[in-house]
């Protein structure tokens, strides 16, 4: 089963090729064989069956979150306009959407 919640790297043991990661407050040891050459403490990683698969790109994550915020704001703006529009038009005159 794939877990998509990232974990934060707490400490690294290059000798053993493992790291301690924190997933929602639970700490565990994972293999870092595939990212050993670049992983740093504080990185976010995805864990799958006991191994870190990658280092998550925080910039892209931030970008996505900002984009969704924008979509919500746009939607709320549109809904507000629609409400004003609806209250301007008498119900039943066929002009409503």
């Amino acid at each position: 089963m794939c877990l998509s919640i990232p974990s934060k790297v707490v400490s690294i043991d290059q000798e053993k090729c493992t790291a301690i990661v924190d997933t929602l407050g639970v700490q565990r040891e994972v293999g870092i064989d595939f990212i050993a050459d670049e992983v740093k403490v504080g990185d976010f990683v995805l864990i799958h069956i006991g191994y870190a698969m990658n280092i998550i790109d925080e910039e892209y994550a931030k970008e996505s979150i900002a984009l969704y915020q924008e979509i919500i704001e746009k939607m709320e703006e549109a809904e507000k306009k629609q409400l004003i529009n609806e209250s301007d038009n008498c119900p039943g005159d066929g002009s409503g959407t």
Partner: protein, 382 residues
């Protein structure tokens, strides 16, 4: 702002965002001149779609076809029989991941083997196999390795680390399969039957974690050769909805390409270290039989000949003949996206997660299990 850990699950599951994306999808889909069937290849996506009730948020002309991306579901009975036979050997401890032990082969499941005295152990990670091997030096520990590209590197890391630590009592039965070959097979088999099926795949929602390892480059043939767009999406509901929207935009703008929605974890090249490690130990099989899909060329890995002393398939006498599936179970059609779980006459009656007849009901990533668990959300859709 720094990204906090909670952002990753709160922001990508936010109902407001899901609703906003649903609205955008509904608006944009009105402009389409034909319905779009999107195959989500991966069982993790199927699970998200069902769990968050995303089907109800889509317009009628955007449909999901559930794909074969559940490693437990596609395992043919003969391979499960191999595991069963290996587990029943006198000096063997058989280790495998999660749901695999519940799937019935022709002799029973690994759970049944265990009740007959076999030493079968479910491991959370291949790392546990190493521990078991060290604790049981007089036993042969056989790792029945399953999974798509996501789990393949972890098996190879086990092989590498066991060698480094000179642990010589671990053997492997390799069943790792690959995504592009099955996607190709699904399109080809449909193209032959195009008149008899109205469920042509128009686009793919590419798997999340498979792509973390492989990169998005493995899908590049689909837009060019097959004219099917691929959007690699994350596992969270917001990711899936945005992925759908990106597919719709490709159709509206007459584009056909590989795009990545899941940019926070996926790039074009993937994890090169993991890919190199796989190529060191594994090579492609000529053919591998997938449950419900038959033999697919170059769709699975095996150990290279130079490591045959580690290969349980070569070291033990294991039957080679093919085995038919249960006649009433339509897992095969479900894995090909030709039928929905609710079209199966034993769904939820003779076949339940507690007592599964077919593999799609066993794994939590199987379409049947997802429909069974979250099926109450479907009434509005049907």
């Amino acid at each position: 702002m720094a990204v906090e850990l909670k952002d990753f699950y709160e922001k990508f599951r936010d109902p407001k965002t899901i609703k906003a994306l649903s609205k955008a999808i509904n608006q944009e889909a009105q402009k389409l001149d034909h319905p779009i069937n999107i195959m989500e290849v991966c069982g993790g996506h199927t699970h998200t779609i069902m769990k968050y009730g995303l089907l109800q948020l889509l317009p009628k002309n955007i449909r999901f076809i559930h794909g074969p991306g559940c490693p437990v579901c596609i395992m043919p009975k003969e391979r499960i029989d191999h595991a069963y036979i290996l587990a029943m050997q006198e000096d063997v401890i058989l280790c495998t991941l999660g749901d695999m032990i519940k799937v019935p082969g022709s002799r029973g499941s690994l759970q049944d083997a265990r009740s007959k005295g076999a030493d079968v152990r479910v491991v959370y990670s291949p790392l546990d196999v190493m521990k078991i091997a060290k604790e049981n030096p007089t036993k042969k520990v056989i790792f029945f390795a399953i999974g798509f590209e996501t789990t393949t590197p972890m098996t190879v890391a086990l092989i590498e680390n066991a060698m480094k630590q000179k642990i010589s009592n671990i053997l492997y039965h390799i069943n790792h399969v690959t995504v592009p070959e099955v996607m190709r097979e699904l399109i080809d088999s449909r193209d032959e039957h195009i008149d008899s099926y109205n469920n042509q795949i128009d686009a793919f929602l590419g798997p999340s974690h498979v792509s973390v390892i492989t990169g998005s480059k493995i899908y590049e043939e689909f837009p060019t050769k097959y004219k099917r767009p691929v959007v690699v999406a994350g596992f969270e509901p917001v990711d899936v909805m945005e992925g759908v929207l990106m597919i719709i935009y490709q159709f509206l703008e007459n584009r056909c390409e590989v795009e990545i929605q899941y940019k926070r974890s996926v790039n074009r090249n993937g994890n090169i270290n993991a890919q190199k490690l796989i190529e060191k130990y594994f090579e492609k099989r000529e053919l591998f039989k997938w449950r419900g899909l038959g033999n697919i060329p170059k769709s699975a890995w095996r150990l290279k000949d130079e490591y045959e002393h580690l290969d349980a398939e070569k070291l033990y006498e294991l039957p080679k003949e093919e085995i038919e599936d249960h006649k009433l179970c339509i897992c095969g059609d479900i894995l090909r996206g030709m039928a929905k779980p609710t079209e199966c006459q034993v769904f939820g009656t003779a076949c339940t997660p507690q007592k599964p007849l077919g593999s799609c009901m066993v794994s939590s990533e199987g379409a049947c299990a997802a429909y069974y668990k979250y099926g109450n959300l479907l009434q509005e859709v049907q």
